[in-house]
Each structure stands twice: as C-alpha cells, then as structure tokens.
C-alpha cells in the first residue's frame, strides 16, 4: 500500500495539478466563483480522473499504440457522460451551477495528461490512486481559489456569512475579471518561489508557468505533451 500513499501525496502536494503544474486552467477560472462550486467541480473531475485512469490502465495492453489518443478520449468522454447524467439526476443544483463545464471535463488536459503519462504505463491500483491523488489536489486547489474569491467578492464562505456587516464586498472578484486577477497573483507567487529556489540552486524545473507559456511547442496534444516529457525525464534521472 506504500505506492498508493505515495501517489496520493504526489498528486496532492508534490505535483499539484493547479498550484505546481498549472494544468486545466479553463475550468479552474470559470467555476471558482464560490468555494462550493470549486469543490463540486474538483470532486467531479476526481471521479472521472480516477475511473478513466483505472480503465485505461486495465486496457493498456489491448489498445494499439497508434490509436491510443482517440481511444483514451472515447473512454474519458464515456465516463464524463456517465457522471453528467448522475449529477443531473441526483445533484441538480450542482449540475445547474457547473453547466457546460461538466461536459468540458473531456478536454481538461489533466485527464488526458495522466492517461498518457501514468495510466498507460502502470498497474490498475497504482493508476486508480494516482487519479484520486491528482483529483484531490485539483479539488483542494479549486476550493482554495473559490474560497478566496467568495470571501472577497461576496463576504461569505461556503454560503455562510463570515465577514462583518460593515464589509462591502467587491463584486468584481466573483465576476470574470476577478478570476484573471486571482490567477495572476497565484502565478506571481509561484514565480517568486521559483526565482528564490533557483537562487539557492534548487531544481525548480517542475514548477511550470502556465499552459500558455509555451503552447506553440506542445503541438497536437496541448499541455498533455509537457507532462509526458517531464515524466520521462523524471524516470531517466531517477
């Protein structure tokens, strides 16, 4: 069970998909208008990620190498559709709040990235826990960002009023521009840590500066390509 624990910690802290790798930024910005929405989106993504990771790992010896990407996308899309139908049936309030971003989980680069980089090379149990770990990391990050935006933008936390009466919420933070500002500050903090780390001679290559920084180089698979390269380099080094 050691490797399972290691995968969980890896996803949650060491390779946190949002704070460290900066993947899947579209849903991160769009649904974090409140802590509750962030948590809901994170958990939904986690379920899809864990299931698709396990399933892809199960089929990794059957899927021919040449058509693996379309095959992965079909598997992921099937799980997303299932989760979408379940949400619509059982948690309609969350379904309405997340709207179009639920089907768009299919194109979230974290999921395809993990399928390529981990699940297609490792066993079922390890892949399942890798998915859960990454999903937990994603949920944690989305909840944090959502909480900050909700606190500043509406003065509430998970729907409960926490700020004093005299506090005037700056609504801009729960609107679209606020999302950009929060992410800008987040990447600035990340930059600062990276620069400070490099000065002390640490290897900071894991910390990325956003999907956008080199999209021209990661042609056909978007950000997923980068994750693969990293994983391979990691293997070569260790």
């Amino acid at each position: 069970m050691n490797s399972a624990k290691e995968r969980l910690i890896n996803g949650l802290i060491k390779e946190n998909p949002t704070f460290v790798l900066m993947l899947g930024m579209c849903p991160t910005l769009a649904v974090t208008t409140s802590a509750m929405n962030g948590l809901g989106m994170g958990l939904t993504t986690m379920v899809v990620l864990a299931l698709s990771n396990a399933f892809i790992s199960l089929l990794r010896n059957i899927i021919p190498d040449k058509v693996r990407i379309p095959a992965f996308i079909v598997i992921i899309a099937s799980f997303v559709t299932m989760v979408e139908l379940l949400l619509e049936g059982f948690i309609p309030s969350l379904y309405d709040a997340l709207g179009i971003y639920i089907p768009l989980i299919v194109v979230n680069c974290i999921i395809l990235g993990r399928a390529e980089a981990y699940a297609s090379k490792n066993g079922v149990i390890a892949s399942l826990f890798d998915g859960i770990g990454m999903g937990l990391g994603f949920s944690f990050a989305l909840t944090c960002i959502g909480a900050v935006r909700e606190l500043i933008g509406a003065g509430t936390l998970f729907g409960y009023k926490v700020m004093p009466e005299s506090y005037v919420p700056s609504t801009i933070f729960i609107m679209a521009p606020g999302a950009f500002f929060v992410l800008a500050l987040l990447t600035a903090v990340q930059n600062k840590i990276k620069i400070a780390g490099e000065k002390r001679g640490k290897d900071m290559s894991k910390i990325q500066s956003g999907c956008g920084s080199d999209c021209m180089n990661c042609k056909d698979m978007g950000c997923a390509q980068r994750m693969i390269k990293e994983e391979e380099e990691g293997k070569a080094n260790g």
Binding site: M25, C26, P27, L29, A30, P70, I73, V74, A77, S78, V80, T81, E84, L85, G99, I100, P103, L104, V106, V107, C109, I172, M175, A176, P177, G178, A179, F180, F181, L183, A184, L185, T187, A188, V189, N191, K192, I195, S209, G210, C211, G212, S213, D214, C215, M216, K219, D220, M221, G222, C223
Partner: protein, 192 residues
C-alpha cells in the same frame, strides 16, 4: 429572424465573449498572443474551424442523434467529430489550397484540443439553436475570440518595453492585462 441572428451575433462576440467571460480557449489566448501577426493568423484559423465545426455538429445532432434518440452521447460524438474534422481540414488544405495551408497550417493542430470548439457545439445544443443559428453563433464566438486575442497581442507588443516587477514577468502580467480587458468587456453588457 434576422433580428434574432443579429442579437446572437453581438451577444456571442462582444457581450459574453468566449475568452474573457467564459474562459474557453484560454490556452491559445495566452500562448499565441505574443505578436499581432500570429495572433490574427490564429484568430482566422479559429473562425474557420469553429464555423465549420458548428455546422457539422449541428447537422449530426439534428439528423443522426435526435432521430436515433441518442442525444446523451453528444459529448462523445462531438469530440470525435471535431478531432476528425480538424485532421480532415488540414489534409484538404495541404493538398488543394497550399497557400492557405501555409498561413493557417501551424495553427490547426493547436485547435483540436481547444475547448472553445467543443464549447460552442455544446452551447448550440443547450440553447436549442437550429443549424443556421448555430453556425451564426459559432462564427460570432470565433470573431469574439479573434477580437480579444488581437487586442491582447497588441498590448503585449507595447508592454515589452515596460519595466515589470520580477515576479510579475511573463504570465502574471499577461493575466492582469486580460483581467483589465475583461473589465472593459463588461461594459458591453449594456448593449443588449
């Protein structure tokens, strides 16, 4: 009818701008906006692909998914159709219109994983748009994308000479710029 289409056109391109208020297609928006020339190239490629994709997705939805009563498979069908379509367009342009391929070719593979394309196809279904309305919506969304990416590229070209704090260099300052643009685009909400 014309009035409805006009409302869709303005609504999707300016009021609910695809990048600045819906956060779709953020990767190319941030990644390909260093120079106005490449930004406009990307914009034209996106207009081309999204308009075509919303036409094809609309036709498939109306004539295959609804008659067979399998509309719940829309996500799977749309993503496969879009991926195949982009590949096909690339091959077609390479063979028959090489001049256009040279100017758009590099951007096409980037668009396959662009969530804006899938987003438009799904929005068209969600809002019960017909095929014509869907195509207009797709075109307008893509035009909105082009407008915002070209503006951002223009600002970034000017910003190269500015003295930005060290931690804000690179992505953070671009995100701040995008946030300010989003505030400006909020002003369009009074338009409809």
């Amino acid at each position: 009818m014309v009035k409805d289409l006009l409302i869709i056109l303005i609504g999707s391109s300016l009021v609910s701008n695809v990048v600045l208020s819906q956060f779709l297609g953020l990767c190319p928006f941030l990644g390909v906006s260093k120079k106005t020339k490449t930004a406009s190239g990307m914009g034209i490629a996106v207009i081309f692909v999204i308009t075509l994709a919303s036409l094809v997705a609309g036709v498939i939805y109306k004539y295959i998914l609804i008659p067979c009563n399998i509309t719940y498979l829309q996500t799977i069908v749309f993503i496969l159709v879009i991926a195949a379509l982009v590949q096909f367009v690339e091959m077609f342009l390479k063979k028959y219109i090489p001049s256009l391929y040279e100017s758009l070719g590099v951007y096409l593979p980037l668009i396959t994983t662009n969530c804006a394309v899938l987003g438009v196809a799904l929005t068209n279904v969600q809002k019960n748009y017909g095929i014509i309305e869907g195509v207009v919506n797709g075109f307008a969304t893509a035009v909105g994308f082009t407008i915002s990416i070209v503006i951002l590229a223009g600002i970034r070209e000017k910003m190269e000479y500015n003295d930005v704090p060290e931690s804000f260099k690179g992505m953070p300052i671009v995100l701040v710029t995008a946030g300010l643009m989003a505030i400006a685009f909020c002003g369009f909400s009074g338009l409809l």
